[in-house]
Symmetry: C2
Amino acid sequence: MVVNRPGEFEIIETYFAPLTKEPGAFGLKDDAALIVVDPGKDFIVSTDTIIAGVHFMPADPPDLVATKLLAVNLSDLAAMAAEPIAYTLAAAWSGETDASWLGRFADGLKQAQETYGVSLYGGDTVATIGPTTLTLTAIGVVGKGLELRRNGANAGDGLYISGTIGDAALGLMCLRQGLNGLTKPTADFLIDRYRRPQARVALARELRGLATAAIDVSDGLIADLEKLTVASGTSALVTVGKIPLSEAAQAAVERSAELIEVILTGGDDYELLFTVPASCEKNVRYIAAHVALPLTRIGDINEYRGKDRPVQVVDNAGLEISFPRSGYNHF
Amino acid sequence: MVVNRPGEFEIIETYFAPLTKEPGAFGLKDDAALIVVDPGKDFIVSTDTIIAGVHFMPADPPDLVATKLLAVNLSDLAAMAAEPIAYTLAAAWSGETDASWLGRFADGLKQAQETYGVSLYGGDTVATIGPTTLTLTAIGVVGKGLELRRNGANAGDGLYISGTIGDAALGLMCLRQGLNGLTKPTADFLIDRYRRPQARVALARELRGLATAAIDVSDGLIADLEKLTVASGTSALVTVGKIPLSEAAQAAVERSAELIEVILTGGDDYELLFTVPASCEKNVRYIAAHVALPLTRIGDINEYRGKDRPVQVVDNAGLEISFPRSGYNHF
């Protein structure tokens, strides 16, 4: 325990009660929170835990830790086409957490919750003998039957990705070991993409009733595509040359061609990977313009080809490329 | 990392997927879970975190750790008169967690969820460099407007407690330092009450529309009563002699009269403390018989007497008793 860390009730009152907005949060002063449900809607719930020294570094800016924690959960809701409305935060603070860290963390959360139109409803605040461990549970709503699953892709569907892929993994490389020959603005862009993921909430809204399946890219493009195809009982063909890269990622790959593997198998992009019937290609172009986000067809969903071949990646000449690993393993 | 700990996907598949029951859990295989909401109901959400070495001991039986984790969250829902339906579990496992621990933990969870009629909907599984840290978020439903709050008590209401008070705190003393002169069965009873709290779900159901306020006793009878009276803008008078004690707690107090302080200020009872209009005393007697649980009037709710005097405790002669601390502080 450290002298300048506030106590439980002070933490709740000073840093977290101001993040509540709805009457059902009861100002964090009751046993639980009440979330009003509109008729005809169901709930979508997602939970993620991040740990200092594992998922973020103790020296990371606390506001960005908060922003990312909320965004990764809302990204899971977006992958199911849910509208985020609420979240709870269960925080186990290490002895090194001081008032300044808490204040900047709460500021980040405040900014992020305003971006996404959600607010805090409740949680738990405890002291831990280990590293700071933060669990956020995000709650969204979706019209009955309108949720998007991983398992709805059909052979013949087009396979799409939002935004650009690989920036976050390259950003993490910049932070950990540096990437040779990149200008500072280029490296900063990549690092920012790693630190400030965007949950694709506006896109998710538009995909309801159009997409047949969706997943957010958190473990790596190929790894998450594998999950989608396995769940759907299909396979997928991806053409590397179609994968949308930012200018920064392009600059990195031009210098070191082997970075394409990092781009395809690195995680933390939090873009939406989704499938759409071939006949609906026009709708996707309309949505891309409407949400001001590139939506790129990177390949196709095909028939099931056996459990060991869920995803085929080919170069522009049609030759298959293979990778030793498809994505991030949490253990 | 330890050799015999299974990997993330194996843990989910082997231990946690079998705890799902509802289609909306998607067998823990999608990005988030879907919880179907009945018309006319709202959601009640509660989150608690427990940490090895802080809230439970690494050597504690894993099934009892699981049972308690679920029960303490459902107790929060019960305090708001919600019907529990679902929970998520975010688990950060330490390197010492082996397959046997996980198996017994999942067994305990399975038994507890059957007792309460809830099932697992989702969560997160990560490895931690610190102690095992478990966050459970429980979700319940309640008819619109039927939730119980802490802030509804009125002067003139009767103040009631379910079950018996103090057993858990005495049980913890038995575990930590032993309690002189108690027979083994008596000590075992108290320890069991500490390790196996019961969420008063059936009672909560009956209190809807009858009780004016409720809170579960987790931090200590006096501490939690203070919260209820402060929230309600009232005060309370409690007569020590009316507080229901188990035979085991009576035996302990007969040997050491000063243990009454432990009984009144120790936590972990998870009984419901609630207030009922004086005119409804008969209904409480009916409910006690119906749910087969003692419901004892331990005092009254009175007018507000200033912020420093929310709770008055008197002995049988009406003389005020004071305590250096009212309950458990989490920091």
